[in-house]
Subunit: 379 residues, 2 copies
C-alpha cells in the first residue's frame, strides 16, 4: 500500500526511516509534504503542494505528522473525502475534531487510526481497544508526558529546582522553547481525554478534564515527598463510577515501591484496569522520532492488514470530579476545607474531591498566589 | 462464530464466563469437553466425547485448555484436520509440537494461536508479534512464572525460607502440589523457548535453553541481595548476537530501582528491545482463571476478526550461551573460574559465560552438593 506523510519532521522522518528499511512490509512511503522545499531522500519525494498527494490515486493512506490544528484538519478531511485512509499522531487534532473525523471516515468508508496520539512509542491505545473487545474497562491511569517524566525524574535524582532541570531538558531537546503545554499538563489533558473516550466509549471534551501541572513545584516539595517515601509524577486518572466518570490530570505522590515510581526517566507508562484482566500496564519510550514514528506506522499496518475499526461515539461522557476523593499535599496559602497535618508552608488535607481542590488552585492563581498541590495515592 | 472448549477447569471456565457475559462479542461457546460428566451451565453443554465437538460442523474453533501433551495433541491435530481453528494456552504442547501444529494449520487452511501460553493475562506474545511486523527484535526478557514471583516476592517481604513460602503458596492455590515445574524453572524454560521462537523467527528447542530455578535458594541469599541493593527474580533472557542467539532462565539479581524489582507479587512482566522502539514492557496478572481465559479468548477474537497469521519457522535457532557473559553470585562449593569477592559461603565471580555457570551447577547437583547461583544484572 502506497502512503504519504504530511510533515517530514521528527515523527515523519522516523516513520519514513522505519518503512524504508523494511521493504518487505507491504507499505511504501511515496511522498512527503513539507512547508519549504529541501532535498529529500529521493527525487520527487518531497513536495510543498498537498494536491500532489490528494490527487495521486496510488496513495491510499495519509499519515499526518504535522501537529497543530491547521492546516492538518483541512488536509486530513480532504484526504478522507478523497477516499484515503488516515493515521495521525496529532492529539490536538483528535481532541478538537474526534466526532467530525470519525463521522467522515464512516461516511467515506475509510479507516482512521490515532493510537500514536497518546503514549508515543507505547502501544497504549491499541491495547486499550483490544482489551475492550472482551473486557470492561473500570479505570485507566498513566504518566505519559515525556517532558514531565524527564523533569520530575531529574528533580528527584539531582535535588534540583524546576528551572534548572527544565533548561537542561530544553538544551537536550526534551522540552519545547515554550514548555507550557507540557508543564501545565495540557498535553496530558488531551491524552487523558482521548484515552478516556476510547476506554469508556463516550466523547470526553478536553476542557472537562480538571488539569494541574508542575509549574509551581519546588525542590522542597520533592524533598518532602522523598522523606515520606513518595515519588512525584504528573498522572492522568480516569475511573467509571456508578454516577459518572472521573477524569483529571494532576501531580500525584506515589508510594516509592510502585512500578510507576521506578521507571527510567524517559519512559511513559499507562495502565488499564479491566473487570476480568485486572491491572495491565504498558511502558517504554513515550516520545521521540522512532518510537512515535513506529506507533504511527503500526497504525498504518493495521489498516493495511484490516485490523480494527473506526471508533465513533454518539454520546458525550458525563464527567464528575466530585466523585474522586483523596487527600492532597498543598504548599501555599489556601482555604483548605480540612487539614489533617501541617508544617512549614505545607499541609495534608483530609480526603477531598478533585473538583474542589482544582477550583481552589485556579482561584489562587487568579489572586496571584499560585500554590502547588499533589494528590496522595495510598499504597 | 461458535467455539468449543477442550477442558473446563481453571482456564476453560474463565474463558466461558467472559464470553457468556459478552453476548454481543461475536463468539459463542457451544460445547465444552470434560473428563467426567457433571452438571454444566446449560443442558447438553458439557460432553465427555470429543467426537461431539469434532463432528459438529457448527463449531469453527476449538480452544484447548486441558494442559499436558495427550490427549491434547491428538485432539488439536484432529480439530485442525477437520478444518477447525485452534487456540491454546498449553505451553507444553506448543513447545513439543510447534512445527507439526504450524504445518498442519497451514496445510488445512486454519488459524492457530497460542499467545496465552506465555504471560497468562499479559498480552505479551501478541504484542511481540505486532512489534515484529515493523521492528527488529534485539532482545527479550521477563519474569513470567507467577509461582516464582509469588515465592520470591514473599521471601523478600517476610525474610522467610522457601519451604514456608512455598507451603503458603500451595495453601492459596498459587503453587502445585508438585512444584517442580515452577521452582526448577521448567515452566519458564518453555515460555522462553516460545517467546524466543516468535521474537527471532526460528524454532528454539526447550532443552537448549539453559535453565536453573530457585529450589536451592535460602533466606541468606535474599538477605545478601537486599544488603547489596538487589532484588532476586527468576528471569528469562534471550538476545540476538552476531554469532548466534543466547537463551537462558536463571535467578537474577536486579538493582532494586528497576521496574521489574517493584511489581506487585502476583504480576508477570515481559520486555522486548526493538531496534527502533527501544524498550517496551508489559505487565499484569500472569496467571489465574480470568486473565489466562481472557488471553485465550482474545486469540479467538483475533481469528474471528482475521487478525494475524500462523507463525511457521523452517530453521532451528542456533543457541550459544557462551555468548552471554556476566558475574554471578554463588553460594555452595564450586570450582569457580574466577572470583572477585567472597564471604561466608558465598562468592561473586568474575564475568563468566552462562553455559559454563549452568554446567558447573549441574555437575554440583550430580555430585550431591547443590549450589544456588544468580546472575548479577548491572544498573
Amino acid at each position: 500500500m502506497k502512503i504519504a506523510l504530511l510533515g517530514y519532521g521528527v515523527v515523519g522522518s522516523g516513520a519514513y526511516k522505519i518503512i524504508a528499511e523494511r521493504p518487505d512490509c507491504g507499505l511504501l512511503v511515496k511522498r512527503a509534504l513539507v512547508r519549504t522545499m529541501r532535498p529529500g531522500p529521493a527525487e520527487g519525494f518531497l513536495t510543498t503542494d498537498f494536491n500532489d498527494i490528494l490527487n495521486d490515486p496510488e496513495i491510499e493512506l495519509v499519515a499526518e505528522a504535522m501537529g497543530g490544528l491547521e492546516p492538518a484538519y483541512t488536509y486530513v478531511m480532504a484526504a478522507i473525502r478523497a477516499g484515503k485512509h488516515v493515521v495521525t499522531a496529532n492529539k490536538q487534532l483528535v481532541c478538537a475534531h474526534f466526532r467530525e473525523l470519525a463521522q467522515a471516515a464512516e461516511e467515506y468508508g475509510v479507516q482512521l487510526r490515532y493510537t500514536a496520539s497518546a503514549g508515543g512509542g507505547v502501544p497504549w491505545l491499541y491495547n486499550l481497544l483490544r482489551a475492550k473487545r472482551l473486557d470492561e474497562i473500570e479505570a485507566i491511569s498513566g504518566s505519559i508526558n515525556g517532558t514531565c517524566n524527564f523533569i520530575l525524574g531529574n528533580m528527584h535524582k539531582h535535588k534540583a529546582q524546576l528551572a534548572e532541570v527544565l533548561a537542561e531538558a530544553q538544551r537536550m531537546g526534551y522540552a519545547e522553547a515554550d514548555p507550557a503545554a507540557d508543564i501545565d499538563g495540557l498535553d496530558q489533558q488531551r491524552k487523558c481525554a482521548i484515552s478516556a473516550a476510547l476506554a469508556f466509549s463516550a466523547l470526553v471534551p478536553e476542557e472537562k478534564v480538571d488539569t494541574a501541572g508542575i509549574r509551581h513545584i519546588s525542590a522542597v516539595d520533592i524533598a518532602w515527598a522523598e522523606q515520606r517515601g513518595f515519588v512525584c509524577k504528573l498522572m492522568m486518572h480516569c475511573r467509571r463510577e456508578s454516577a459518572g466518570l472521573t477524569a483529571y490530570v494532576e501531580p500525584t505522590l506515589l508510594p516509592a515501591g510502585l512500578p510507576e515510581a521506578n521507571l527510567p526517566v524517559r519512559s511513559s507508562i499507562a495502565t488499564l484496569h479491566g473487570k476480568y484482566i485486572g491491572r495491565l500496564s504498558f511502558f517504554g519510550a513515550g516520545a521521540g522520532t522512532l518510537p512515535t514514528g513506529m506507533n504511527m506506522m503500526q497504525d498504518a499496518m493495521d489498516i493495511y492488514l484490516g485490523v480494527g475499526e473506526v471508533q465513533n461515539y454518539a454520546e458525550d461522557a458525563q464527567i464528575d470530579n466530585t466523585l474522586a476523593v483523596h487527600p492532597y499535599y498543598v504548599r501555599g496559602e489556601a482555604k483548605l476545607p480540612g487539614v489533617c497535618e501541617q508544617g512549614d508552608g505545607w499541609a495534608i488535607t483530609e480526603p477531598m474531591c478533585v473538583s474542589a481542590m482544582h477550583a481552589l488552585a485556579r482561584e489562587a492563581v487568579q489572586e496571584g498566589r499560585p500554590l502547588f498541590f499533589a494528590g496522595i495515592e495510598e499504597e
